[in-house]
Subunit: 701 residues, 2 copies
Amino acid sequence: MSHVMSKETLGALIAPQSVALIGASATEGKLTARPLTFLLRHGFKGRIYPVNPVRETVMGMPAYPTVAAIPEPVDHAYILLDAEPALSALEDCAKAGVKVVSVLADGFAEAGPEGRARQDRLVTIAREAGILLIGPNSTGVVATATGFSCTTNAAFRADRLDTGRLAVLSQSGSVIGTLLSRGQARGIGFSTLISVGNEAGVGVGTLGRLLLEDPETDGFLLFLETIRDPEALADFSREAARRGKPVTAYRIGRSDEGQALSVSHTGAMTGSKQAVSSFLRDIGIREVEQFETLIDAPRALSMIRLPEGRPRSVTVVSTTGGGGAMVVDQISARGIPIVACGAASRAKLSAKDIPLGHGKLVDVTLAGTKYEIMKEVVSTLMADPETGLLVVAIGSSAQFNPELAVRPIVDAVAEAPPGAAPVMAFPLPHAPESLAMLEAGGVPAFRNVETCAETVALFLTPPKIEDPIPVVVPSAVTDLLSGAAPGILDEVSSGDVFEALGARRPAQVVLSPGDAVPETLPFAFPVVVKLVSPDLPHKTEAGAIRVGVANRHALIDVIDQMTASAEKHRPGYRLRGVLIQEMRRGLGEALIGVTRDPLVGPVITVGMGGITTEIYKDTAVRPAPVTLETAREMVAEIKGFALFRGFRGRPKGDLEALAHCVAAVSVIAGCDHVEEAEINPVLIGPEGDGVVLLDALIRRA
Amino acid sequence: MSHVMSKETLGALIAPQSVALIGASATEGKLTARPLTFLLRHGFKGRIYPVNPVRETVMGMPAYPTVAAIPEPVDHAYILLDAEPALSALEDCAKAGVKVVSVLADGFAEAGPEGRARQDRLVTIAREAGILLIGPNSTGVVATATGFSCTTNAAFRADRLDTGRLAVLSQSGSVIGTLLSRGQARGIGFSTLISVGNEAGVGVGTLGRLLLEDPETDGFLLFLETIRDPEALADFSREAARRGKPVTAYRIGRSDEGQALSVSHTGAMTGSKQAVSSFLRDIGIREVEQFETLIDAPRALSMIRLPEGRPRSVTVVSTTGGGGAMVVDQISARGIPIVACGAASRAKLSAKDIPLGHGKLVDVTLAGTKYEIMKEVVSTLMADPETGLLVVAIGSSAQFNPELAVRPIVDAVAEAPPGAAPVMAFPLPHAPESLAMLEAGGVPAFRNVETCAETVALFLTPPKIEDPIPVVVPSAVTDLLSGAAPGILDEVSSGDVFEALGARRPAQVVLSPGDAVPETLPFAFPVVVKLVSPDLPHKTEAGAIRVGVANRHALIDVIDQMTASAEKHRPGYRLRGVLIQEMRRGLGEALIGVTRDPLVGPVITVGMGGITTEIYKDTAVRPAPVTLETAREMVAEIKGFALFRGFRGRPKGDLEALAHCVAAVSVIAGCDHVEEAEINPVLIGPEGDGVVLLDALIRRA
């Protein structure tokens, strides 16, 4: 969209010179009176034009009958009318050249076919006029730097509106209020807060991309119920990563009930939880488990950095044994290595008679909570090259003596040389004063041990941002697929496609119906025989597959038996050929599947197949296609593949070949007319022997 | 212990008439000066006697050179001296007839062999004198009703010490301060807070049992790093359950690092995480995941009850769509069913023009947040017999208009008839006033959606308290075991024991070395043959097992080959016999194991064996022995047994017989001299065909 990159649009979005409130009520307390109330309360610096055809004035301001009657160009309009009148108002905005329009009304895509048609009309009007359309179903736009609180959200009744450097983009309007309230209570303000509503015009991705140009914004909080614009979201988050502006998301839908609600609540689609999570991770968005982490983590991530060369580990310092153990336990449970005080630091501190306890926790309890000791310990560990991230768990002194336990941390950080280890802190008691002191001093601090640990894990395992892989589908593949009929390709054709992609299959001979069995085969007996037919989806039941056929004589007999059996099973079935394959043995099997997720598009799944996939959900999922590196990661994630990693002295399987196969096959995601492709099973040979696909299918759209 | 049930001891513990502070410092601010400072600050009602041989007075109070010099009997003493002097002081207390003594010093069991010996001396002195000994390594005892803040914990520097109806027992002294500080900030006071230290004399279980007699205490919070007194803990928690006083625990040790720290920090042992969790659940202790739940849940659980007959489900009412969806998502993700507004209630509310939204969330957003509407909705749903627990998610109005959104909930609860559905609430914004209003009105309220959801799950899935099963080991089993030598029993003897317990094994014949193969066997060929020998632990490698032996002739040959192969594998091995078994086939296999956990004693494990047990940890663990009902639960927990529950049209396996076998075999836990027993595999036959043990071993102590 052309307006995305426009500075002018960005200005009209968050720092408009003029705003029209179309349908502003004059009755204080009414929903549609709120934007005006809040704009006045929070000192909006631009000009406000209430539009209300039946009133002369609204809250003492002159009212205008239409947008056209406003005496200057309007940058931003918020339409507060019901759905149908909102359409006319948008037309008026289009004529008047308004740049950005938010729409409050519901009754659009979430309201059945009629609503969807109405939404289409809304989008068409906006698109033709080049309007940046927010909503419908949007509680509005807030930009704190300009006091632009153009919102119906009751939370903006707050006496003050703190500025800040984090932007909020939320698919739930009400959750914006929650974030504002909880954030401000923690001393966290925001730069911009946008309720994206139905995202009919622009969504989270496009708005995020636009806000990346806002110098007031250092990071992003997303509250997601669905994903409507995966490409735009990917563009935004990859660019955000490039600029070092972290994007953190909380997502509804960890349960089926939650997913169902998102669907009914927003008219959105539902995708696979695993596919969506892998998509978000892939494009560099950090998904959080706990709601409070959505508030805590973004500030922490934009406050400190891990200097290059420092290890991705944590050293925990504590003035309280039990509390320190709790912090270690929680961080370690999230897979982050805990590292004890290094030998050099230990020697240095011991020389100053500072006892550090035993084990991995640096426990200074016995030294007593004294300013000099705390500062010495923190400074020493920050300077130690063996320290990754330093986490300080502070006991009761955080409540009663911040000067003894908290001030030294802040001072140590202030005086630290460049490249020192970064510090986070967790006061055990209820200690708002200490939290504020720490955060003012550049030390991310947490109210809960779990959000502390989750943020630590996010900080030390940053997303790997990969640019989207240019998909080059081999022309042989395109040729094969374009020749195929819609529906399921038979296994010979499916195998041809996978082979053209670079996968190996067993040596094979295909006989046309009626062909005689050749005198010799290009591979040894025993062999596997399958009837190729679109009418026999269940080969075993139809007697249409035989393994271990020992010689040519038996092969001839077997083919006769099989065709007879298939005819009996499914009279009049269409026989397309007889597939004879060399019989391969391996150490075990895997499955590879490519599907299209309704939310995030093509994804590839790797698993071991059988119960490990279905019962234990032991699968790895990624947006497809994948690089070889990602394919290796996927293979490494499958717990069941332990069987091929030398489990209990068994021979190792060729998992490297499997990763190559996964990467090669994943390219099929680039063929738009392939709806689904699966290799099940892939036979895994011993290390060095490679993998071969035993059965494969492709469904063409 | 006789003093456990003594009212006198309880009085001396939490409401002493007189307390001696042995080693009290006169220097304000010093650790050992704190108990006196805090007792004075919080208005202790009894008499205080500082014991300090080098001072005339301590903080203006007369000091005594020894306990003996105190002019009245002393109920409670806190010894603030170092380890060695503490021993002498305890002897003085013994002579002076002090009833309860807490000891601050470290340098005992956590400090190597010397410390352990010192601890033994401490315990002996206390035991002989009938003293209730708390610690060592204890920061003391606090009872709020009497202002008895006899503690070194800095958190009691707080200006006020709220009373309350929950007792805290903590293995970490410092965490008591955290709980006090966070609890008081949430309006939650405590009745008693005890730092149990090393639990050398009495531990959590014994103290909990004693505090059950305190009418001021309605529930318990435990902070655990280990378990030192499983029997006493079980007695306490079962009795607490009988009296309706919930016991909630937070445990360090979800990670290996956390476990390691607990060990080094407290000198405690480490047990299997799964065994300890199952033990706690079994005895009725609710283990929480999040630290804040340890504070939130006990009050909620002692505040409301689910009336008999109400379903164990949740109905969520919300004034905010996104916030309500978040609550539904979190509760549902914990496996609790979400139920929509019932038809009758919907009709009643619709008749009053109150829109409820669609889907399972009762979303009153559109109705606007009005007192009458909120009260009508909450009252109607509370009265509806289809409602289990009602959870109300309150939007911005909780912050700005508690009168509109929170007051009606409290009023509805106050006016509800007996048997109405209970209510919990979660305000989305930062709203301390609303939290306080709700809780004052008897509505448990939460600051975080995750602690709300976790508490909901604890509330609706109360522990099933089973009295310990009287273990009756069949005399045949005892006879077999007492006749056996220490070490591993051979498989014939192990099989004999399991058979005597009631497990089935295949029909078998055991030949003594040199016996001829009989003309006929009491079962049909093919058969399985195994050499019985203490020297061949790995039968397959030694060639000491053969399956599928087809007839007598082959059997004779096979035995010759096997003995030769075994002799070659392990020259001079001792042959004890030849085991010939009928060859059984089943649908699959399971394993059953009984082991002794170092912390919680005998536990039984059920799994499918192979990679599902080792890689996916797909096992069920319980304290052993188990009832048939518990055995069925265990079998139902194993995901992999889906294979025997009709997975993809497969025949069903006899899981009921497996449960019977588990219950029967579990009785072996009652044989003290059995260290470990395992059946691996148990063959699972088709439904109705039972299960048979194929291989078994028992290790005798």
